[in-house]
């Protein structure tokens, strides 16, 4: 689904030269500082915007993709910030929130465009995140697209056998898709456990988590 510019195009762009830990920490610090600035810190926002633009331009990332992803996420930001209009001084608060939020969002989108998630896992492990958490994240990430594919397949199969548009059938259909997906998920989980055992996991009751 996502192609990673760093690993695939062999990009030597600045962003890719930094280790994943550095990138993750830098992005998080950037976002935290930005978010914690006083609301009307317009000069700071301008500076942040310029920094982001420079890094984006220099990094060799696909600009169209980056922009598209940011635009796709804007409605969520708008949805929440609209509520801020209904108070004294609302317009300025709204604009400030919109700006700050969009800048933070852009930074995180940029991070995910340049860093394959498996690198983020290694970064998390290096930062001593708990084993079970990292394992859950890794397994989830590994099987996410597979499960989404399976879900689409089940959906398609259902659609090809459904000839009615009745509301109640839509709900029923949705529920049985999700139920079937869970059944397949738990069966696959059993098989994965067997595959892990076949390669030595949990010998002597002490499994090595990934």
């Amino acid at each position: 689904m996502n192609t990673w510019p760093c690993t695939q195009s062999g990009s030597t762009a600045n962003a890719c030269r930094l280790s994943p830990v550095t990138r993750l920490v830098a992005a998080v610090i950037f976002v935290c500082v930005l978010a914690l600035l006083p609301r009307m810190a317009w000069p700071a926002y301008a500076l942040a915007a310029i920094m982001l633009l420079l890094i984006a331009l220099l990094s060799g990332v696909n600009h169209a993709r980056l922009a598209k992803r940011i635009l796709l996420l804007e409605p969520f930001v708008l949805g929440v910030s609209i509520l801020s209009l209904f108070q004294p001084g609302g317009l300025y608060i709204f604009l400030a929130l919109l700006t700050k939020s969009t800048l933070c969002l852009s930074c995180m989108v940029f991070l995910s465009e340049t860093t394959p998630f498996s690198d983020i896992f290694s970064a998390l492990r290096l930062l001593k995140a708990p084993d079970l958490l990292v394992t859950t994240l890794a397994l989830m990430h590994r099987y996410l697209f597979l499960l989404i594919e399976e879900m689409r397949r089940i959906q398609r199969a259902r659609k090809s056998r459904t000839f009615s548009n009745r509301r109640s059938l839509i709900w029923h259909s949705l529920a049985s898709i999700i139920a079937q997906l869970f059944v397949r998920t738990s069966e696959r989980a059993e098989r994965i456990y067997m595959a892990m055992c076949a390669r030595g996991f949990n010998l002597k009751g002490q499994g090595q988590a990934q």
Partner: protein, 261 residues
């Protein structure tokens, strides 16, 4: 073509796998295996064929100790002369590599390198040794350079090869494969068969791909409804039309063209 079971305790050293009267019932009551007896010698290549639901996958899972979940009768399965009990489980898993049918069940790590490197640490290997094994195994399956690739972006054939590499990284003497060429395109099948031919190990292959059986396995065992229906030389079994039809199989084209009737 029945198999004569050896008397208990009399295990010739070259018998790598020995199965005696193995039975298995699923939790829901279905009897999957009803008294299986056979043995496999060092560096033999044996095909396990039969209709769907015959119990092939279930049998294979016993060869590496994944089944049964609770060991009741360890003497039924002997690997390298040792019974499959909890003490010998580590040794058995190190020596018998199992390749699952669906590579997505077996390829569960986030990168190829991590996945191939999953096995060795479980058996006590560390650091540089793990590295060496991973690179070796990837070379054997002709996937050098794939170390940092993510499983999502691999083709099915590539996934199968990564799984094979993961199994080879433990350097097992016995390779057990469940439907290795299923769902592969013709090129993928040819590539995998070539790889298997070059691997030096005892091989037990459950498959529907009768061409593979003819090409790689001098011996075949027909499994049907949980029992062994036949066990003998491949060409002999596979050209016996009555036998094949009786067990939901067909004489493969290769053999028809070899022996025109």
């Amino acid at each position: 073509m029945s198999y004569e079971s050896k008397t208990a305790g009399d295990v010739a050293p070259e018998r790598v796998i020995e199965i005696r009267g193995l039975e298995f019932t699923y939790p829901d009551g279905r009897k999957a295996l009803k008294g299986i007896n056979f043995s496999v010698g060092r560096n033999e290549c044996v095909a396990l064929i039969g209709p769907n639901g015959a119990g092939k996958s279930t049998l294979l899972l016993h060869l590496n100790g994944v089944l049964p979940e609770r060991i009741i009768s360890p003497q039924r399965v002997l690997v390298l002369g040792m019974p499959a009990n909890s003490q010998n489980l580590a040794m058995i898993r190190k020596n018998v590599g199992l390749l699952f049918q669906d590579p997505d069940d077996q390829l569960f790590c986030s990168t190829v390198f991590e996945d191939v490197a999953f096995g060795p640490p479980q058996f006590g290997f560390e650091g540089a040794e793990i590295d060496r094994r991973v690179r070796n195994s990837l070379a054997k399956v002709e996937l050098q350079g794939y170390e940092n690739r993510s499983p999502q972006h691999l083709s099915r054939g590539e996934k199968k090869r990564v799984c094979l590499a993961g199994v080879l990284a433990c350097e097992p003497g016995v390779l057990v494969l469940d439907e290795p060429t299923s769902d592969l395109d013709p090129r993928g099948k040819t590539e995998l068969k070539a790889l298997l031919r070059n691997i030096d190990a005892t091989k037990i292959i459950a498959t529907h791909d009768l061409e593979l059986v003819v090409e790689l396995c001098p011996r075949a065992i027909i499994l049907d409804k949980g029992e062994i229906a036949a066990d003998g030389p491949t060409l002999k079994l596979l050209s016996d039309e009555a036998l094949m039809l009786a067990h939901g199989l067909e004489v493969p084209h290769i053999i028809r063209h070899m022996h025109p009737h």
